[in-house]
């Protein structure tokens, strides 16, 4: 156990029948930081979260939250955590306020204290107007906010968020990100799962990529992007040119791909200064007229595709380059 670590998992494994949901997973989240657990559907993210939040027990391996063993000291762990699940865990027939007060009282707050805290959170999450309506009538974004508010009733030092923005519109999503950043600024430790790379990129201090129950990569967003070792060079020609692909091959670290109409070419390229200018000169020398040239730094999407081999649906007319 390390005092700096608010969440620590060592060699967690869990099997459901034929499926190895988790296979030897290690995780660490330092106090006051955000760890993003990234992976496709069914990768094992939720299983890991269920074990860390005492809802499930591992077949092997151990985990500690705020210094307490999640199996042997489950009750102590529950006093330190807030959990927001993928499915809203609210009571539809209660009002927003009643939901919060109930969670507060069951978290050992006194009734008056629970009411005060509920009022405070309803204001923070801009739910005051809807506070005394049944949750049944809430929109998706309101449910998510109320769900998060419920997780914060007893000011937990560690917060687990399972895909906190799945299904939210862009505005609600930005607002949720703002709330999460604010919590971390106040010293809360957050472990969140997400399928969205931009979310992990925008929020997380550290990222763990899980696929088929295994950790396949870990690091900061910057480290993961650097790990692909290349950038994407893309040119658009005024007209198709036979010598263009050959001219670009000199910079390529893979293969050069040409679009169907012959005007667009792209390739993974070495990470070197002045790449765009050098490529432009080479194309000019070959006699190709260039309309546009861009150098993309790899996004986490690219990293993810490389790591998981997952086919991210290509945009129309834009086939992804094999790196």
């Amino acid at each position: 156990m390390n005092d700096r670590m608010m969440v620590e998992a060592a060699a967690l494994s869990k099997r459901y029948g034929e499926t190895q949901a988790l296979d030897d997973v290690d995780l660490e989240v330092a106090r006051g930081s955000i760890l993003g657990v990234l992976g496709p559907n069914g990768a094992g993210k939720t299983t890991a979260l269920r074990i860390l939040t005492t809802l499930s027990t591992p077949d092997s391996g151990r985990a500690w939250v705020a210094g307490h063993d999640v199996v042997a000291e489950a009750a102590a762990v529950r006093r330190k955590i807030g959990v927001t699940g993928q499915d809203a865990t609210l009571d539809e027939l209660l009002t927003g306020r009643q939901n919060l007060v109930m969670v507060g009282e069951l978290s050992r707050l006194r009734r008056a204290e629970a009411r005060r805290r509920a009022k405070e959170l309803l204001e923070l999450f801009e739910l005051t107007d809807a506070a005394d309506r049944m949750v049944k009538g809430y929109s998706g974004g309101m449910r998510r906010r109320l769900d998060l508010a419920a997780s914060l009733m007893m000011r937990p030092p560690v917060l687990f968020l399972d895909e906190p923005t799945t299904g939210l519109d862009p505005t609600s999503r930005q607002r949720m990100w703002g709330v999460i950043r604010g919590l971390v600024a106040d010293g809360v430790t957050v472990l969140l799962t997400t399928q969205y790379l931009d979310e992990a990129d925008a929020l997380a201090d550290g990222i763990v990529v899980i696929d088929c129950g295994r950790v396949i990569a870990r690091g900061t967003p910057r480290e993961l992007k650097a790990a692909t070792g290349s950038q994407l060079l893309e040119v658009t020609l005024e007209a198709p040119h036979a010598g263009a692909a050959e001219a670009l091959a000199a910079f390529s670290v893979g293969s050069v791909t040409t679009s169907d109409d012959g005007r667009r070419l792209w390739t993974p390229a070495r990470n070197e200064p002045g790449l765009a200018v050098a490529a432009l000169r080479a194309l000019d020398a070959a006699g190709a007229l260039v309309d546009d040239i861009t150098v993309h730094r790899p996004s986490l999407d690219d990293v993810f595709a490389v790591l998981t081999g997952a086919a991210i649906a290509p945009e129309p007319e834009n086939v992804r380059v094999p790196v």
Partner: protein, 283 residues
């Protein structure tokens, strides 16, 4: 929970009283939450409000017309205690339905991550259903009084009759809780519980004296806990109780038999339901 010692040590109140107090607080929060549900969706209560009135009137006027009791007496006077027990028995099915619908929503996952007593979810449900059963009993009694049923003993004895019926009903909610925890869906729970509860309610002296049944069936009916409770209520209400002439022990000692049956069901089903709940919610 193996970690409860750690928990209480942290709170700094490791006394038995402190633990009981917080357990009871949890139970009461869960009970209150179920009562809010009833207020929001009053039709949830139809099985303890409309159904008892309907059953009471139907059975007394439809069956009662053709019924002659051994040893004489009015069918209305005989039937009311039976209908009380029958209604309480069938309405206990609601416990299972309520619990399974809780388990099928995400609410239970949130509750399980809170530092609350896990068992208070079950206890809260049975307590709110006990309140519903009390309402059910009051409605059967009121319906009876309107159509001319009269208890012929003093008030304490009449109240004791209702108390015994409610104790039995409470025991049955734990039986149904166990069944609910053992099956997967609300539909299968309803199916299984009707297979258990209907014979329990009907193969008894609730609607008709057992003297007219084939001997083997009469034996089953005389040992059925529902018969003991109905006979106990009849005795305590001072209403006709033809079972008093049957030599089977529960019919000779219906009050003792009712209490023993209820305690037996509770002793078996309370721990069983807790174990099944833990088994169901852990993976």
């Amino acid at each position: 929970m193996s970690a409860s010692t750690t928990l209480t040590a942290e709170i700094g109140a490791p006394t038995l009283f402190g633990r009981l107090r917080s357990w009871w607080d949890d139970v009461w929060v869960m009970t209150r939450r179920n009562l809010i549900h009833v207020r929001r969706d009053p039709m949830q209560l139809s099985d303890v409000t409309i159904q008892p009135v309907m059953f009471t009137l139907l059975f007394i006027y439809v069956f009662g017309a053709a019924m002659v009791l051994p040893g004489g007496g009015s069918y209305k006077q005989f039937a009311l205690a039976g209908l009380l027990v029958m209604n309480l028995t069938t309405s206990s099915v609601g416990t299972a339905i309520g619990l399974i619908s809780d388990l099928s929503t995400g609410v239970i996952n949130r509750l399980r991550t809170l530092p609350m007593s896990p068992r208070s979810i079950l206890v809260g449900r049975t307590l709110s259903d006990l309140l519903a059963a009390t309402l059910c009993g009051a409605i059967v009694a009121a319906t009876g009084l309107v159509i001319g049923w009269r208890p012929e003993t003093a008030l304490p004895s009449v109240l004791a009759g209702f108390a015994i019926a409610l104790l039995f009903s409470y025991a049955l909610t734990w039986l149904n809780t166990s069944i609910a925890m053992a099956v997967s869906s609300p539909e299968s729970a309803q199916g299984i519980i009707f297979i258990v509860v209907f014979p329990l309610a009907f193969v008894s002296n609730v609607f008709a004296p057992t003297q007219g049944m084939p001997a083997w069936l009469a034996t089953i009916a005389d040992w059925n806990p529902v018969s003991a409770v109905a006979a106990a209520c009849r005795t305590l209400f001072g209403n006709p109780n033809p079972s008093a002439t049957i030599p089977a022990w529960p019919m000779q000692h219906p009050v003792e038999a009712s209490i023993l049956w209820s305690l037996l069901i509770l002793i078996v089903c309370v721990p069983l339901a807790g174990r099944l709940y833990r088994h169901r919610t852990s993976d």
